[in-house]
Structures are given as C-alpha cells and as structure tokens.
Amino acid sequence: MTYQDVIDWQLEQLNYNSNAQPSPEMQDFITANPELKQELAFIKQFWNGPKQEQQPSQRLDTNFYNMLSQAQSVEASRRPKPVTKVLSLQEWLKHWFSPKYMTQAAALGFMFVLGFNFQPAPSQAPVDPGLQSLQQEVSSLTSMLAISMLQKSSAAERLTGVAYSQQSDLTNPELMDTLMLMLGTDKSTSVRLAILNTLNSAQSISAYEDVLLPLAINEKNALVQIELCRLLLNKGSNTARNELLTQLNSMKLDKDVKDFINKINALSQV
C-alpha cells in the first residue's frame, strides 16, 4: 500500500458520495503516517465545506428565453401547415368540372397544342443526371460548410459562413434555421446585415415570414430594422407586407426610419 493508493481511494469515495470506511489495513497505514493523515484531513475539509454558489443576473434568463422563442418560431414555421379542408370525391368532381375550370382547361389545352407544333428545335442537350447529382452534392457540402462556419465564435468566421450560405441554393432547412436563429440572436450587426442580404437572394421567404415579421417590428437597431423591412416588402407575401405596414404605422418610429421604409415600400410597389 502506498500514499497514492490511499489518496486515490479517499478522492474516489468523496466523488461518489460514499461513506465507506477504510479497511483495517489501510487505517493502520494512515495512523502510521502522520503526513498522509494530514493530507486526508485537508481533502475532507475542502470537500465537505459549504458550496457557495453565485446567482446569475436576470439578463441571462431574458436572453435565453428570447433565443428559445426565436428557435421555436423557426421550428414552427418549418412544420407543414395542416390542410384546412378535405374535399370529398363528389365535391372535388363538382369543383373541377365547373364551367369556369372547363373553359380554363380548354384554353390551356389549345395553347399546349399550339406550342407543341411551333416549338423551335431544342438548342441544349438534356441535363446529364450525373451532373445534376454532382451539383446537388456540392450544394449540400456548401450548406454544411456554411452551418459549421456560422457556429464559430468569431464574427469574421460567421461572416464567411454567411458568404458560403449565399453560394448554396438556400433550400437546406437546417441552414435556413441556423440563419434565422442568428438573425434574431447574433451579437454582430454586420453578421445580421449579411444574413439579410443573403436572404434577399433566396427563392422564397414565405416559410419564414412568421419569424421575420416580429423581428422587423421589435428590432432595436435601426439599420437592421430597415433591412428587415426591405426584405419583407420586396419578397414577402401581400399579407406579410400589409401586416408589417399596419404595425409600423402604429409604432413610434424615428421619422427618418419611417420615411425610408415608406420609400422602400413605394419602390417595391413599382
């Protein structure tokens, strides 16, 4: 038996909250070594003393619950919306064979026949499925790289992540969720503005309007707020645009910010 064995045993007992007593052999060894006895007494005193803990401030709770609520909004917007009404077969037939739809179908058929007969010879070779799958693979890798960079602690690296996001087709839901989460929580204004710039090149933002709208309304940073409004006014649905304008008009906004948003709105109408 050595000093080390006894100390290891004592530390392990304390770690596992065990009250086991040393074996008689160990006890004799401890008694015969006053220095070891002193070391063990120190360990016990340190371990069994009061464990004073400090409380974090309210800021931590506020920040966490804001972040969680953002994440929940993103998650909710990802879930498929429930179908509001399921038509019976009879209703479906009645609906689609109404004179209005029959006329539209006939017009469409006529246009199709015209187009089929007068189409020019195909100028491009059909897309190679191998090439298509390679493009998809590259896009998926770019998205993964972007997500990884977006989670770095340095703002410069996160900006690189945003740049990579722009190179992907912005259809990866995980990437879009990360961008949305950061848009609401990132400490760097530059990163948030870069995300907004990237979202401008997304094909559609309709799935994320529920997240973007409250962000635009509650944003404290004027620059970010203007860009959020620009994004919604340029790419949002009519409902989202109207909702945004109603909310903004009822808010006490800085006059310059309000003017600027109104100008963006006027331009988006053109």
């Binding site: 290891d8 530390l11 340190f46 003393g49 009061p50 400090q54 969680l68 989670q151």
Partner: protein, 183 residues
C-alpha cells in the same frame, strides 16, 4: 423528476420548450463553473447563453450514449476554449492574476465567517487551469469519474493520477497562502 437524457431526446425530437427545463437545472451550475474557471460575471453569463445556443444547434449530435451532463460540459468547455482562443486571453486559462483573483473571490468574500472557505477558493484560483478544472468538475459540478474521464478524453487511472496531482497542488497553494496570512 424526469430523466435528463429523455428530456434532451425530446428537445431533439422538436419539443424545444423542454430545453427550458434543462436550462433551469443547469444555469447556476454552469455559471459558477465559468466563474470558477476565472471568467468575470458578465462573460460567464454570455458563455452559459452560448453553451445553450450550441446545445440547440447541435441537438442532433446527442446520441444518448453518454450522460447529458457530460455532453453539456463538453460543449461548455469548447465554448470557453473557443472564446479565449479568439480573444487571445490565454491567461484566463492559465494562472489568474491578482485583479482576477479579487473578482473571482467575491465568492469567498460573500461567505461571512468562513475565512477558511475563502482561502480554499483563493487556493483553487491560484493553481493551473488544468488542475483547477478537474477539481471543479468533481467537487463543484459533481460529475462522476466516468463522466470526467470521458470529458477529458483519458482513462480512469490517468484521471485518478491527475486528480491526485491537482489536490496536491491545491494543498501546496493553501499552505502557501496560509503562511502569507499568518505572517
């Protein structure tokens, strides 16, 4: 009380509100972990927040094989290491200087009539970050040996040896400070 692993698996399945349960259970512990590792209050709060952001972002990587606490502390350690690497404040992870001793040792100062406890805290801050962390994880965060070994990526025997060395350094530091106080 619901098992932490189950709660985390539910978070993973999309029940994000369950993350609040884990946050409430760990926020004070994590905050004190970062404080004891030598960070100030404001930074410690930021690090707790960032840790939970990463828990959310990496939720799919939790496989349930390890305990939730060991997975969480793994993220917390990486978060702090990333932060200190980026801000070039390597000293936070080495020896804490006098100014920081004062800051971190408000812990000890708050304990009225427990000079010895304050001395323990001060001694803890005076040893290397590596030794300090092992003691903090075991004594204050109450992680068991298996969890700490998996967190530090070492086997149990190595951990025991590291723990013994850490305690020995703590005792040395304690004796040194006691000598200074008695002078």
């Amino acid at each position: 009380m619901m098992d932490e692993k189950d709660i985390m698996l539910r978070v993973q399945a999309g029940e994000l509100d369950k993350l609040a349960v884990l946050f409430e259970r760990y926020k004070v512990k994590l905050f004190n972990y970062f404080l004891r590792m030598g960070n100030n209050r404001s930074l410690s709060e930021d690090l707790v927040q960032e840790t939970f952001m990463k828990v959310l972002a990496y939720r799919t990587s939790f496989n349930g094989k390890s305990s939730f606490s060991s997975w969480l502390y793994g993220i917390a350690r990486n978060t702090a290491a990333d932060h200190h690497r980026k801000t070039q404040h390597a000293r936070h992870h080495d020896d804490i200087d006098e100014h920081e001793l004062e800051t971190t040792h408000t812990l000890g100062e708050t304990i009225e009539g427990s000079q010895q406890q304050a001395m323990f805290e001060k001694s803890l801050a005076g040893i290397s970050a590596e030794h300090r962390e092992i003691i903090i994880l075991s004594r204050f965060q109450q992680l068991n040996y298996q969890d700490i070994a998996s967190l530090l990526d070492c086997n149990l025997n190595t951990l025991k040896s590291k723990m013994r060395n850490a305690i020995s350094k703590l005792h040395e530091q304690y004796n040194k400070l006691s000598g200074e106080v008695n002078l």
